[in-house]
């Protein structure tokens, strides 16, 4: 590959770069997705851009039953980030599949449904309901950053065994080759071991990172700022943690597709994740700052790939891992 400088920066993105990506059996026209919980079910964002133009919409994690979420206040702004404690508010999988998914499907968007649960059985049942919709749903992302009620509330994602139990149950309930992605938490000592146990249990690929556990104290009220006391930290403040996680997991499991996320605000940020080994990226908190972030980032990424001399996204995936003597132009 040669390092040619291409000066065709257009706001629409560089048409000459092939952005297609594959995540197991899932083929996507572009690698840019929304992050779960940061795009609802797509409806509100559709006022700002055509949802079918990006790779896929990853919907807010859905549980079996309706859920109120936590009390307010639910957020605190932090330097280059935010803390949230939403508590997985949602309508329950039945209403979601009957109302939200059909609406999203008619926009032509590809749909990745994120599921959550309080127990292994919850995950399995919710996954089965999602799968019943057939090909309307392209893949399932399994949000295992939830407390396991039958294990002292310990988060599934923080224990390789609990994590693999969930993934095994979801695999069994969706069957065959349907793409499922385990969403990993960075709040672990060894993310690679959790990643491996999820893949061994049947995950097609991995999504990372979820938010980091944080706490903000309001110095006026002298109490925790959010009602849930702790919350999940997101935004550019966590980007290096996400890039590190993707790098380590890709190095250990080079064949496993990764959806990278955490603090992506620009095409260059997305490119960092691609270079670290991600085959796709999700845009979360950036959407709160800029409702068109996902589409803008996709165009910026396309231009940047062209500028660096890539003709296809696939050539750039994990390019950051090349050996020191393996340079461009060789």
């Amino acid at each position: 590959m040669s390092l040619k400088v291409v000066n065709r920066k257009s706001p629409e993105g560089n048409m000459s770069v092939d952005l297609r990506t594959t995540l197991g059996s899932l083929l996507l026209p572009t690698p840019v997705l929304t992050a779960s919980g940061c795009a609802g079910s797509g409806k509100e964002l559709s006022a700002f851009f055509d949802l079918s133009e990006i790779g896929a919409i990853v919907t807010k994690s859905i549980m079996q039953n309706p859920r109120s979420g936590r009390a307010t206040p639910r957020m605190a702004e932090t330097p280059s980030g935010m803390l949230n404690s939403i508590g997985l508010q949602g309508p329950g999988v039945e209403k979601f599949m009957n109302e939200d998914v059909p609406w999203l499907a008619q926009t032509g968007a590809r749909i990745i449904v994120s599921i959550a649960g309080n127990s292994v059985e919850d995950f399995a049942r919710t996954a089965a309901r999602v799968r019943r919709a057939g090909d309307v749903v392209s893949a399932i992302e399994v949000n295992i950053s939830c407390p396991n009620v039958s294990n002292r509330g310990l988060v599934f994602a923080c224990d390789p065994i609990s994590a693999s139990e969930v993934i095994r149950a979801v695999r069994r309930s969706v069957g065959g080759l349907f793409p499922i992605f385990a969403k990993l938490s960075p709040d672990v000592t060894d993310i690679v071991s959790v990643a491996k146990s999820c893949v061994d249990a049947g995950a097609t690929g991995l999504a990372m990172i979820n938010t980091l556990l944080g706490l903000v104290i309001d110095t006026k009220t002298m109490r925790p700022k959010v009602a849930g006391i702790t919350g999940g930290l997101s935004g550019p403040a966590i980007r290096p943690v996400g890039v590190r996680a993707v790098w380590q997991v890709h190095a250990a499991l080079p064949k496993v597709p990764i959806i990278g996320m955490g603090g992506i605000m620009s095409g260059a940020d997305a490119f960092e994740y691609i270079l670290a080994g991600a085959s796709a990226v999700s845009i979360g908190t950036a959407t709160f700052h800029d409702p068109t972030a996902a589409l803008r980032i996709q165009n910026e990424l396309s231009n940047l790939l062209a500028e660096r001399g890539f003709t296809a996204l696939k050539e750039a995936i994990a390019y950051g891992h090349r050996a020191a003597d393996e340079e461009v132009g060789q």
Binding site: N84, T287, H289
Partner: protein, 287 residues
């Protein structure tokens, strides 16, 4: 999907910024937004420049919208300097560019028949009421306005209120301007005198709660424009919720940015804000 009333994201330009008492009044050329804006809607401004360490947009009620400003469609906001975001805004030089999303939320509902209305504003909460008054008057409603604040410096819109309402009453806690006390201390008398049939209120949550309770006792509906912390302003994050009873009697944690920001005060479970009221849809399942 985008429709003629969908919010837009535009690069606006600060046309003017001036101090008004304790507040700041900012006019922003925001083509497209001004044309679509209706009373009760708000805009969300990105703060801190690009790139910024302050990721979340700041929400402000639209005080005025002029489709045919000298610089094209212009909107105006009135804001108090609270934290780092509003401090940044208060120091913006004219002609600065600001990233603005709007109009967001639903307009105030307008009654189908001409009613005797009372518009109550606390502090900068009066901002969205002047354009509302205009619309109400064109529909044949009688418009009384009642503005309250801690001090005279924190009353906003005395001149505008005189113009917009058939009668304007002022109240300050320190008694420096108008009556002494709080809005609710004088509400009984005012409602009796004006034979209020419908209230619109905007201001601190405590004031809205007191007005709601009071109005309910007299069977007068009170439409309250609430202010809950918002991360996105467009309906995708679920931070801005309040416990609200729906028409079906079910309590839901309801997004104030897209379902509001104004609600019939009687549907809000004021006492339970900051908790999940028992019986709320999905409360049992909170593992």
């Amino acid at each position: 999907m985008a429709t003629a009333s969908s919010p837009l994201q535009v690069r606006g330009e600060v046309i003017s910024l001036k101090r008004v008492g304790e507040y700041y009044q900012m006019a922003i050329a925001a083509p497209g937004i001004a044309e679509r804006a209706k009373p009760g809607q708000f805009v969300a401004l990105a703060v801190g420049g690009e790139p910024t360490s302050m990721l979340l947009r700041r929400a402000f009620s639209i005080y005025a919208a002029d489709e045919r400003g000298v610089f094209g469609g212009t909107i105006e906001i009135v804001f108090a300097r609270q934290g780092i975001g509003t401090k940044w805004l208060s120091q913006l030089p004219s002609h600065s560019s600001v990233d603005i999303v709007g109009p967001l939320g639903n307009p105030f509902p307008i009654p189908a028949s001409p009613l005797k209305t009372l518009l109550i504003g606390g502090g900068y909460g009066s901002a969205p009421l002047f354009s509302l008054a205009e619309v109400l008057r064109t529909r044949g409603c009688r418009v009384e306005m009642f503005l309250g604040a801690a001090t005279g410096e924190r009353l906003f819109g005395i001149v505008e209120g005189r113009r917009a309402a058939s009668q304007l009453t002022l109240v300050t806690e320190d008694g420096s301007v108008g009556l002494r006390g709080r809005v609710t201390d004088h509400l009984d008398e005012l409602m009796t005198r004006t034979q209020t049939e419908l209230i619109y209120a905007c201001g601190p949550m405590g004031m809205l709660q007191a007005i709601s309770v009071f109005a309910k006792e007299r069977s007068v509906p009170a439409q309250c424009l609430v202010e809950e912390e918002m991360a996105c302003g467009i309906g995708v994050c679920m931070t801005c919720v309040l416990p609200i009873r729906g028409d079906d009697g079910v309590i839901r944690m309801t997004r104030t940015c897209v379902a509001g920001p104004s609600f019939d005060g009687d549907t809000i479970l004021w006492e339970e804000i900051g908790s999940i009221p028992s019986g709320t849809l999905g409360a049992e399942d909170l593992g």
